[in-house]
């Protein structure tokens, strides 16, 4: 158990939440997700690093451009020349700005008077322009979580980046559908001091955002970045945490990683370890290698190169996070240069590389037993650049923890992504005029928080808190309130929340259900046209046929009603048969029922109901 106080843990969270606006932030395209198969056009580009407005070159951006990858973009009939960087942006979407203002007010923030759209240099290809448009709207707010006040540093309104479809190393494929969807980026101060708190703060922020009713929901519409540092460690930015439930684990693992890197530093210093600033061509060592990866690289004209880490033996293979070694960090770097990874002597001989080859390799670079050698194979320039970068990284092992941007993995560990970007990566978006934050703009209503609404439901309607929260957090809470005045609130909650959950488990596609379907079911109950038990059947019908009319639904219901009666009758009449043959009575009984209902009711439904009735009878008999 880590004493987080003692290690000086500081965590800040950055939440990126897509807004549910009609149009994108800088063009009039709809904010809809598309299937890549629907793409009707594609094109490709390269990106280059340019000086930012004060002439400094951004280190993170520089590393990206050194990789000189080709970016392929998939366009749709719902994207335009603005996304393709073939037309200047339109003016800032005011609908999005209004939502951002509302959110900032809910976070007790202060506003700038004039919003200036900036270009944040991002040249990984995720923006066709090579920058992300972003504007600082508000600053210095707070939220209270478990009695602790957490400061909110900034709220920015930004355009969403492209969706990455495929990464082939030197070629990356992006989809333009997502590019330009408005999102708010909310950053807390590093006031969070435990992993559990990080998770709670993220959850609370998510709840506040959803309370507006104007944010997108579903997979990928909200992402968390986490900034983590410990005393003597470094600030690490972890990108793209999609699953809130592992947020605490990510923080914990990062602390472990930094502590291990610090231990490694101390040990290397004690050993007087050093990194040899030279890249060795060792292609000939592997001329007849059985390693498929290396053989393939050599065959396609690539080289195998090595670097020498003096007195690093055993350390490159040391675990720094569950399942990840220092060597894995080096491999991450190689991957960002479009290589498959690296090999290092702490893990060799292995992967088809023989003991003899390892010996020759060590001899070639002049490595002793206490040294480690790292090799990479592939395109000459890529290998060269990747190894140069790995030399830098290895040298940093003697200094401590390098500041980095890392990517969240599903198991809570993280991988190296790029160096931490500096402030130099911003310059003004001159194509978009500044926007004044006016009194009218600030005059927005603060919506009821989902958690307050849930408490209200508990008090007023007598629901359990968990169920009340689910309803309050759902898009149908207004429907709930409307019908909770007419019929028992528990029934309304059941129709809106519990039945759909059950149907999903049974394999029904409940994603097709819309408000009108629930409204129909609730209205039938409220009007006394249907018993409350009928709701399940109604929703089932809608799942299978979302466009069914009320009459069709009622017909099915009455048929089903007749069917239930008929089955009950048959089961009583043929009770002897059931007693004798148990479940095997199904077949003859099915024939009898179908004789009556063929063409009127789905055979599957009949079979289901009949089997259920037989089983119940058997249970009753035994």
């Amino acid at each position: 158990m880590i004493d987080y106080d003692a290690v000086g843990l500081k965590v800040g969270i950055e939440i990126h939440q897509q807004l549910d606006t009609k149009h994108k932030l800088f063009c009039n395209c709809p904010t809809v997700q598309r299937d890549v198969e629907e793409s009707n056009f594609k094109f490709f580009r390269y990106l280059r690093l340019k000086r930012s407005e004060i002439g400094e070159e951004d280190r993170a951006a520089k590393e990206e451009v050194m990789r000189s990858r080709r970016f392929i973009y998939k366009a749709y009939d719902t994207t335009c020349l603005v996304e393709a960087d073939e037309e200047p942006p339109r003016e800032l979407n005011m609908e999005a700005l209004k939502i951002a203002v509302q959110i900032a007010k809910m976070l007790n923030m202060e506003f700038v008077d004039e919003v200036h759209v900036m270009r944040k240099i991002v040249i990984d290809g995720s923006n066709t322009t090579g920058f992300q448009r972003t504007a600082l709207i508000a600053f210095d707010g707070y939220i209270d979580v478990d009695g602790q006040r957490i400061g909110i540093a900034t709220l920015c309104l930004e355009e969403e980046a492209c969706r990455k479809i495929e990464d082939r190393g030197d070629v990356v494929v992006y989809s333009l559908d997502r590019l330009g969807i408005p999102l708010v980026e909310i950053g807390t101060y590093p006031d969070i001091t435990t992993p559990e708190m990080a998770k709670k703060v993220a959850k609370k922020l998510g709840m506040i955002l959803r309370s507006t009713g104007k944010v997108k929901r579903g997979l990928g519409t909200i992402r968390q970045d986490v900034n983590i540092s410990i005393r003597d460690g470094a600030r690490i930015e972890i990108k793209g945490v999609q699953d809130l439930d592992i947020l605490d684990k990510i923080v914990e693992y990062e602390v472990i990683r930094q502590l291990n890197l610090l231990k490694i530093r101390d040990e290397l210093r004690e050993r007087k370890a050093e990194v040899v600033n030279e890249i060795f061509d060792v292609t000939d060592v592997f001329a007849n290698t059985k390693s498929k990866v290396i053989a393939k690289a050599i065959k396609s004209g690539g080289r195998v190169k090595a670097i020498l880490l003096r007195r690093f033996a055993g350390i490159v293979g040391r675990e720094i996070q569950p399942g990840r070694r220092l060597g894995t960090e080096f491999a991450d770097i190689a991957k960002t240069f479009g290589l498959g990874g690296i090999f290092h002597t702490d893990e060799l001989p292995k992967y088809g590389i023989s003991e003899e080859e390892v010996a020759k390799l060590k001899e070639k670079v002049g490595a002793g037993d206490e040294d480690a050698v790292v090799i990479a194979a592939g395109d000459d320039i890529r290998v060269e650049r990747a190894l140069r970068r790995i030399i830098e990284r290895a040298e940093y092992c003697l200094i401590g923890v390098p500041e980095e941007t890392r990517k969240a993995n599903e198991d809570g560990t993280t991988s190296y992504l790029r160096p931490l970007p500096g402030a130099a990566r911003m310059y003004p978006e001159t194509d978009v005029p500044p926007v004044r934050i006016t009194k009218e703009l600030l005059d927005v209503e603060i919506p009821e928080l989902i958690e307050d609404r849930a408490k209200r439901y508990v008090e007023k309607y007598g629901l359990s808190y968990d169920l009340a929260y689910e309803i309050a957090d759902s898009e149908y809470y207004e429907l709930f309130e409307e019908f909770a005045e007419k019929i028992a609130p528990t029934i309304v909650a059941r129709v809106l929340h519990i039945i759909p959950a059950e149907l999903r488990k049974e394999g029904y596609d409940v994603s097709v259900l819309e408000e009108r379907h629930f409204r129909t079911a609730l209205k039938l109950i409220a009007d006394g046209k249907m018993a409350k038990e009928g709701a399940e059947e109604v929703l089932k019908v809608f799942c299978q046929n979302p466009n069914a009319s009320v009459d069709e639904v009622l017909k099915t219901l009455s048929k089903a009603g007749d069917l239930d009666e008929f089955i009950a009758k048959i089961v009583e009449e043929k009770v002897d048969l059931i007693r004798e043959r148990g479940e095997h009575a199904f077949k003859p009984l099915m024939g009898l029922v179908m004789k009556e209902f063929r063409g009127k009711v789905d055979g599957k439904v009949v079979a289901e109901k009949l089997m259920k009735a037989i089983k119940m009878k058997i249970a009753e008999l035994s």
């Binding site: 280059r48 340019k50 000086r51 407005e53 002439g55 037309e87 322009t129 090579g130 911003m426 004044r436």
Partner: protein
């Protein structure tokens, strides 16, 4: 005290901010905060000017390499050379040609680059006098022995300048105009690739004035357009330039730099002698006809002393029949050339009565010339020949502006 560009501590909204003061064109103080964001404050109090931050760019030095051809880059301004202007917040031209070369280091593997800043103007501000000065600069550069000339130019009127150079200058080496549709301070700018392809063209086996720009929306290749057969056809796309009534001369693949030629009938390197005829007659006007436009417009220009008239007529080359009397009157001592607002295709005024009347009235068919090219050609003809000679030459192909046959492209 002017505090723009200086680092200050400011009190606003009850808080203290530190940042660099940016130029503002509203009543707000625009501050660049340390997180990189610019923000505007209406009510503020400057507490302290912390330190001066001067804005300067290191200029890369161009190194000479043995055995490489030498190319001169003449910068005239435009998007290809533009960056953020602190005073207005808008994109304006500021880079010198050296800085352009510094941004595209691979140029230095292709050729030895000399660079000069002739103008720093947006192309809509170009005047015929600028074309003349530019032609003289190109002429003297070629005379000095450069193997090729690159002219960086704003895209809006690049095809006018290209035409002007094509008529004024008989060149033994490639004269390549190049521009950008996305400003070169953006990572996605087309400037670098266009310039790279322009350099490859400038050292190729060519001896005429061309425009080199993106051929598609992708960064795959550039087209080499004949300067008198090209036109900007889109307001914003990278592939805005299209060769019209004639195929592009060739294409330059990116990033390999390999050139594939499409047209055999092109001027080759050293095919023509270097020669400059730099007079332009500037009383020439291009008039776009539209339904209802009265011939008064001709009278107006004629009375102002204009003697060159290029009409951008409808379809095969028509204006309303109520223009015919006026045209007959002015064509006695003017050159009146008909072109088409269709752009694609050839003028033929012998199909309909209107056309036949126009010919009788003195209109000369501009064949398959683009209206802008015809305009520049008439300027040049009237500047260098008498009216009768000019009337004959306007229908004759001089530098590739008129093709003898119209083909499917």
């Amino acid at each position: 005290m002017d505090i723009v560009g200086k680092r200050v501590r400011v009190k606003a909204k009850g808080r203290i901010f530190e940042g660099i003061v940016m130029p503002s064109f509203t009543d707000c103080l625009v501050l660049k905060l340390d997180n990189g964001y610019n923000v505007g404050f209406k009510d503020y109090e400057i507490l302290e000017v912390v330190e001066e931050k001067t804005i300067s760019f290191p200029t890369p030095k161009l190194e000479r390499r043995e055995g490489l051809p030498s190319v001169k880059i003449i910068s005239t301004g435009g998007t290809i050379a533009s960056k953020v202007d602190y005073r207005t917040g808008a994109v304006t031209s500021q880079f010198t040609a050296e800085e352009i070369a510094g941004d595209v280091p691979e140029l230095l593997d292709i050729c030895n680059v000399d660079a000069m800043l002739l103008y720093n103007i947006l192309s809509e501000n170009m005047k015929p006098q600028n074309w003349i000065e530019l032609a003289r600069e190109v002429y003297s550069s070629i005379k000095k022995g450069y193997d090729g000339i690159i002219i960086t130019h704003g895209t809006d009127t690049m095809h006018y300048t290209a035409s002007a150079l094509a008529f004024m200058l008989s060149t033994p080496v490639p004269v390549v105009l190049v521009g950008a549709q996305r400003s070169s301070d953006r990572p996605s700018s087309d400037a670098a690739m266009n310039l790279f392809c322009a350099a490859k063209t400038a050292i190729s086996d060519l001896g005429e004035v061309v425009v080199v720009m993106h051929a598609t929306t992708s960064d795959d290749y550039c087209y080499i357009h004949r300067g008198v057969k090209v036109r900007k056809c889109h307001t914003s796309r990278r592939d805005a330039f299209k060769s019209i009534n004639f195929p592009p001369l060739g294409k330059v693949d990116y990033p390999s730099g390999e050139i594939a030629w499409f047209v055999e009938e092109r001027f080759r390197r050293n095919e023509r002698e270097l020669e400059l005829r730099d007079r332009l007659y500037d009383k020439v006007v291009l008039i776009k006809f539209f339904p209802g436009l009265k011939p008064d417009v001709l009278e107006y220009y004629y009375d102002k002393g204009y003697r060159g008239f290029v009409l951008e007529g409808t379809g095969l080359g028509h204006v309303a029949t109520d223009w015919i009397d006026t045209i007959r009157r002015i064509s006695e001592d003017s050159l009146v050339v008909m072109t088409s607002q269709c752009l694609w295709g050839r003028i033929c005024d012998r199909v309909y009565d209107t056309g036949r009347y126009l010919l009788k009235a003195g209109v000369i068919e501009g064949e398959d010339m683009l209206p802008e090219v015809a305009l520049v050609k008439v300027m040049w003809l009237l500047g260098n020949y008498d009216l009768e000679e000019a009337k004959k030459l306007v229908k004759v192909n001089l530098v590739g502006e008129i093709t003898p046959t119209t083909k499917y492209e």
